[in-house]
């Protein structure tokens, strides 16, 4: 009796398995064709341009390349970009952690609306993001008139660029943290509080170690976007060479001025940063998936 039912089971299993195999296994030539298309697309649209950037930047020799990288305009744009990153990333890390903490640890009405709203910078064009602040803080807006009366300038300068960048890169940290914190729940924090730890201590000793990799990943994404954003910054900066040109704006300025080597040199520098952040992202991904799998075990 038992043997019979067992053999029947195996039989059924085999019958189920055959059509699945057919569905998942295309003929060899289809597999090769599809893979080739993917490889061709990636080469044409991702790898080739990247190589070209470096090739063009170095086409007139390393000497010219170094010269263009160390030209005053380039240096000033790098300096400005770093200033903006150094201001925006910590601020958005703080606000992002705050948002993630609020929506995952507390219950309140309008929570999901808040999460959706936090994504607004993703869905809206950065140009509009820049424009909002020009209209709000510029001398046409009500707020702008009040600011002018008090001698506060928030557009066409570093402050404006920081504000626009804050807007554009706000979601990155929170986006990374919310799923991690949601899946972890609040029990470890509760355990810590019951054991007598303060809220602040609980955050740094219990919460932060658990969200570390997600947090670093969010910071990397936020930094990369702050460095690379063109739209919002372009509107609010006023394009003052040597003063309000960030790296991408300076690339455009070089390009418009037919200084191709300089444009490509600066582009190559930004590409290096982008590749480095990708590598870091991969590392953090690997790290966090490793900790997760240990948890499950």
């Amino acid at each position: 009796m038992t043997e019979l039912s067992l053999s029947q089971k195996t039989h059924n299993f085999a019958r189920v398995k055959t059509p699945m195999k057919l569905v998942l296994t295309e003929p060899k030539w289809v597999q090769i064709l599809l893979s080739l298309i993917v490889v061709a697309f990636i080469s044409l649209f991702l790898i080739l341009p990247l190589i070209y950037i470096f090739a063009a930047a170095l086409s007139s020799g390393i000497h010219i390349y170094l010269n263009s990288i160390t030209s005053p305009e380039t240096l000033s744009s790098i300096y400005l970009t770093l200033t903006v990153v150094a201001t925006v990333v910590p601020l958005n890390t703080f606000f992002g952690v705050l948002l993630a903490w609020t929506v995952t640890k507390y219950h309140f009405k309008g929570k999901s609306l808040m999460i959706t709203l936090a994504d607004l910078p993703f869905s809206i064009s950065p140009v509009i993001g820049g424009l909002i602040f020009v209209l709000l803080f510029g001398d046409h807006g009500t707020l702008g008139k009040w600011l002018m009366a008090h001698n506060i300038q928030l557009v066409f300068n570093t402050a404006g660029i920081v504000i626009a960048s804050l807007f554009v890169t706000y979601p990155f940290v929170a986006r990374e943290l919310i799923p991690v914190m949601e899946s972890r729940g609040t029990q470890e924090e509760e355990a810590s509080l019951i054991l007598g730890a303060s809220t602040l201590r609980t955050f740094f000793k219990v919460t932060v170690p658990n969200i570390k990799w997600g947090l670093l990943y969010g910071i990397i994404l936020c930094s990369a976007r702050t460095i690379g954003d063109f739209g919002a910054v372009s509107v609010i900066s006023g394009h003052i060479v040597g003063q309000t040109n960030t790296m991408p704006l300076q690339v455009e300025a070089f390009y418009n001025g037919y200084q191709m080597e300089a444009a490509f040199a600066l582009s190559s520098l930004m590409s290096v940063v982008a590749l480095a952040s990708l590598a870091l992202k991969g590392y953090f991904d690997w790290k966090s998936s490793r900790t997760r799998s240990i948890d499950i075990k």
């Binding site: 029990q187 470890e188 509760e190 355990a191 810590s192 509080l193 019951i194 054991l195 007598g196 730890a197 303060s198 201590r201 000793k205 219990v206 170690p209 658990n210 900790t291 240990i294 948890d295 075990k297």
Partner: protein, 354 residues
């Protein structure tokens, strides 16, 4: 440290979670809070720990009112169902955590902490595992670490929220006995939340049956089992056969079956009969109105008792009966045999609300 809960109520929106709970736990007592899921037992525990606040009522720890006191002041040890160990810390660090976070004035020296952790590791029998991480331990071991961590701060009370709920049956049984032993050793006032009646009966000095945010019965395990105060408790505790009928003229009536009851009203009623409260006769030696004719449909011979499933011939209701091995062999029952079932003990409740 005794705990007194006075008139505790709590609701989420329109949903009443706790409804005027009054409960006193004596010093050194282990009380089990037993109820179905959603009965409010975990909420009560969280209110005690200070993780949530009651809308009404007061909480007294040894006569001191701690109703609105912050978590820290209550010095409660809490054990979570899913352990809630700190994954990024070793077992030692986990256990030492509550001592390390004390303000400098009250913090023991490094050496004292180390010794305390040694003691606790010994107590929970995990000495070789101090340097491991929680993910490297089994579920049962993790829960023992959680218990050691809770005990490290020398809490006034120990609160256990379904502590063995996530473990498999065998480990659960071992840990239960171990907890019982441990409680005998440390004699800490403890409140255990569980939906597993076997666990409650095995571990607790007293059992509090809770349902829909209200206490149904408080008593020792044998009191609760032998003398359930109402139909909910009867139904919830142990296996039970329910027979629907009517109550009229001081009698419970189901078909030809009639027995006298105290209830004098005229209403629908439910009779509860535990599976071990039947006598089985092969031929009808009973008065016809005191037994049901039934056919044996299944015999489960495994274990120390023999479980029989029978089907009543008059209305096809299935009835579960437990016999000792001895009774069973004396009767020499076989499948499909027709027998007569007489309840030896029967408890009838009016059916309102059921």
């Amino acid at each position: 440290m005794s705990i007194e809960l006075k008139n505790i109520s709590k609701s989420y929106g329109s949903c009443q979670i706790l409804n005027h709970i009054n409960l006193t736990i004596q010093t050194g007592e282990l009380v089990a809070l037993l109820g179905p899921s959603g009965s409010g037992k975990t909420s009560l525990l969280r209110v005690l720990a200070g993780l949530e606040y009651a809308d009404e009522g007061s909480i007294l720890f040894h006569g001191i009112n701690l109703t609105d006191a912050p978590i820290k002041k209550r010095k409660a040890g809490f054990v979570f169902q899913h352990y809630a160990l700190f994954n990024t810390m070793t077992i030692r660090e986990n256990i030492a955590y509550g001592l390390k976070v004390k303000s400098r004035k009250f913090r023991p020296s490094k050496r004292a902490i180390h010794e305390k952790v040694d003691q606790l590791l010994h107590l929970v029998r995990l000495e070789p595992y101090g340097e491991r991480y929680p993910s490297q331990l089994s579920g049962g071991q993790r829960q023992r670490v959680a218990l050691a961590r809770a005990l490290a701060i020398e809490p006034h009370i120990l609160l256990l929220d379904e502590p063995f709920g996530a473990l498999d049956a065998k480990v659960r049984k071992e840990l239960r006995q171990w907890l019982r032993q441990l409680h005998r050793q440390v004699k800490m006032t403890s409140l255990l939340v569980t939906h597993d009646q076997e666990e409650a009966f095995e571990v607790a000095d007293r059992i509090v049956i809770i349902n829909k945010g209200q206490i149904e019965q408080i008593g020792t395990p044998s009191q609760v089992y032998e003398k359930p105060v109402n139909s909910f408790v009867y139904d919830f505790i142990g296996h039970v056969n329910r027979v629907r009928g009517t109550i009229r003229d001081g009698q419970f009536i189901n078909g030809n079956f009639k027995i006298p009851v105290e209830n004098t009203g005229s209403t629908d009623g439910i009779a509860f009969i535990r599976p071990d409260q039947f006598s089985i006769k092969a031929a009808n030696g009973h008065a016809a109105n005191r037994a049901w004719p039934a056919t044996i449909t299944h015999i489960h011979p495994a274990g120390s008792v023999i479980r029989l499933e029978l089907e009543r011939q008059d209305d096809a209701q299935s009835i579960e009966v437990e016999l000792t091995k001895r009774e069973f062999s004396q009767l020499s029952l076989i499948k499909s045999q027709r027998v007569f079932l007489e309840p030896k003990q029967i408890k009838v409740f009016a059916a309102d609300g059921l």
